[in-house]
């Protein structure tokens, strides 16, 4: 069941989760080629801190 509130960060992981995370290379794509990009190209959605829209204030 989903938590109602994210009051504190969760640090506990289950053994199943640990098993999936620890050997990060355990599961690969069909050709085994999944590789992370360089930091500057990695999944930017997880790093932006500021929107910086250049558009005018919306009507």
């Amino acid at each position: 069941m989903r938590v109602n509130k994210l009051k504190t960060l969760k640090f506990r992981v289950t053994q199943q989760q640990q098993a999936m995370l620890q050997p990060q290379s355990r599961i690969k794509s069909a050709d085994g080629s999944l590789q992370a990009d360089a930091p500057e190209n990695s999944f930017r959605a997880w790093n932006a801190a500021f929107v910086d829209c250049q558009e005018p204030i919306p009507d």
Binding site: R2, L9, V13, P39, N47, V51, I57
Partner: protein
């Protein structure tokens, strides 16, 4: 005796992760965090945020977004370490933008002080992400890569603080802080996505340090959401309420588009065809 098949185990692990990091209602969750921090009701801010999120339903509040994060963290070797480090650069860029904003405001000391403090926090945070990377993922970045990365980060705490010759109008100041408030809301969510993954991967001897760094970061995010929310309340009382409501709706739409654009490469490169719905606005 055989255990359950691997895919069943994987699904159970994912379900547990989603249950832990996806609140039933993210907007109410963030509002409660801000209100508890400030010990204030924030009625105007709450209404504006609820209306904007109800209209936009941004991708980062979807369970599937957290699922993509888990998918990449568990299936792409080295991805999570690089994402954590990339946050260092983003926080550094954020600190420079906030300092730029501070330079162009010379008519509201209260706002100026808080924006400058925020800029300094972001510079500090950029380095905390380097520390997190070192401690949680020792050896992933060999040699002096992290040292060079850190040396290239801007540090507004050491910059001369001088006002700019130009002045930003108050409406644009409000616009910037609405955008910043939305960005911080997403960053707080990201901290919740990060925490169990980084903690699980950190070596035992560094787990406590990693935990403290993450807890400090999320505490600061709530503080930043709180001070900007409080400013919105004040500005609304001074007759900017209509503008602020309009900004929250418009900027959240834009922010959602940007999030989808930023997520697209991960969906295409790592999603293995499973997350096309996250590209839909």
């Amino acid at each position: 005796m055989t255990g359950p098949p691997d895919d069943v185990v994987s699904q159970a692990a994912l379900r547990q992760y989603l249950d832990d990091v996806c609140p039933a209602d993210y907007v109410e969750d963030v509002l409660q965090a801000a209100r508890e921090h400030l010990q204030e009701g924030l009625p105007f801010y709450s209404d504006s945020l609820r209306a904007a999120f109800a209209e936009v339903q941004p991708v980062f509040t979807r369970e599937r977004y957290a699922e993509l994060f888990w998918h990449c963290a568990t299936r792409v070797p080295g991805w999570i370490a690089r994402v954590v480090l990339a946050n260092g650069r983003a926080e550094g860029e954020g600190s420079e933008k906030l300092l730029w904003l501070w330079r162009e405001v010379d008519y509201n000391r209260h706002v100026e002080d808080q924006v400058l403090a925020h800029a300094r926090d972001e510079s500090r945070h950029s380095r905390i992400f380097v520390r997190l990377t070192e401690r949680a993922f020792p050896g992933v970045f060999p040699g002096d890569q992290l040292e060079r990365f850190e040396a290239a980060l801007p540090d507004v705490r050491r910059c001369p603080h001088e006002k700019a010759p130009t002045r930003i109008p108050e409406q644009h100041l409000i616009d910037n802080l609405v955008q910043m408030n939305i960005g911080e809301i997403r960053t707080r969510l990201h901290m919740h996505l990060f925490a169990p993954v980084i903690y699980a991967l950190a070596p035992d001897e560094h787990k406590l340090a990693v935990r403290r760094l993450l807890e400090g970061l999320v505490r600061d995010e709530v503080r930043h959401i709180g001070y900007t929310a409080k400013l919105m309340e004040t500005w609304a009382e001074e007759d900017s309420g209509k503008l602020i409501r309009r900004l929250y709706r418009g900027r959240l739409h834009a922010f959602n588009r940007i999030t989808v654009e930023q997520t697209e490469s991960a969906i295409l490169n790592y999603g293995q065809g499973r997350f096309p719905d996250l590209l839909e606005i």
